[in-house]
Amino acid sequence: MLRTEIAPLAVSVGRSAMHDAAPSVDRSGADAESLGWLQALSGAGRRHDEAVEALHALLLRAARFEVARRGGGRSGDLDDLATQAADDALMAVMRKLHTYRGESRFTTWAYKFALLEAAVKVRRRAWHGREVPLEAEGWARLADRRHSPDADAESSELIAAVCDGIAGALTPHQRTVLVALTLDDIPIDVLADRLGTTRGALYKTLHDARRKLRARLSQDGLALESTMQGGRS
């Protein structure tokens, strides 16, 4: 059954991406097996088609591993998810083939595409139909933590300063992203979908917000690291 699914895929992959080579990439560190993969996938004919099929089998195994690892099991529905992930990963690998630098084994490099595709699909599926709370003012809940039994005097002071920083230093968008990702634990891919942006762009927003907060704390002579030493000792 796999063969009938893969054969047309191999042809379309061969037409779309095989000539996309970048001679400037230094692959002097690549092992012989990895270079063999690269040559076969970059070539044409039967050897190429067999390599594509073998690669898809590896990617499918990785995608199934990831789905199972996330508690997805192996029901038919979830196996479809893994198959979709492997198909998408195969296209991504073939598109990016020219960027492989040989700094890891080729199969390791390829696996990461399958794991990423599977993880994103599992997270999206888990949140499908669920409301994603987007509340820029949700950080106000943080203030309640000051009076929590878990907060000692030092962390209570830090929480108060963080609240001030969120209120005074961040934009509404930065607040929304910070609250969603760090307080509400919304997966970054899911949030990116809902906001019509990318994971990288969202993490940049989060990074900028964190940097502003840290700068504000530093101005006040506070630092998380000293509180961590106290809280974890």
Partner: protein, 83 residues
């Protein structure tokens, strides 16, 4: 029933404030992930070879999951130890 656990508040603050050190972006993390994990599993100094990766993995749960999954997958393969 309730018990005090200051580390919970510290963990929350750590999630909010993220890593203090310079870190890679998500795109750079994905680019380096295979090399980093192989170095780790080979017992080599992955953090020195790929600066900024460890702080990013501490600050980005999704990339951390990708890292942990790749490490687990490779660890399940018998030939990883020979890399």
């Amino acid at each position: 029933m309730s018990h005090h656990d200051p580390s919970r508040t510290v963990d929350l603050l750590a999630r909010l404030l993220g890593p203090a050190e310079p870190e890679l972006t998500c795109e750079e993390c994905f680019e380096e992930l295979d090399r980093y994990v192989e170095l780790e599993l080979g017992g080599r100094d992955a953090d020195a070879t790929v600066p900024g990766m460890r702080p990013h993995l501490e600050g980005c749960p999704a990339c951390r999951e990708d890292h942990d999954s790749l490490a687990a997958l490779l660890s399940a393969e018998p030939r990883t130890a020979d890399a």
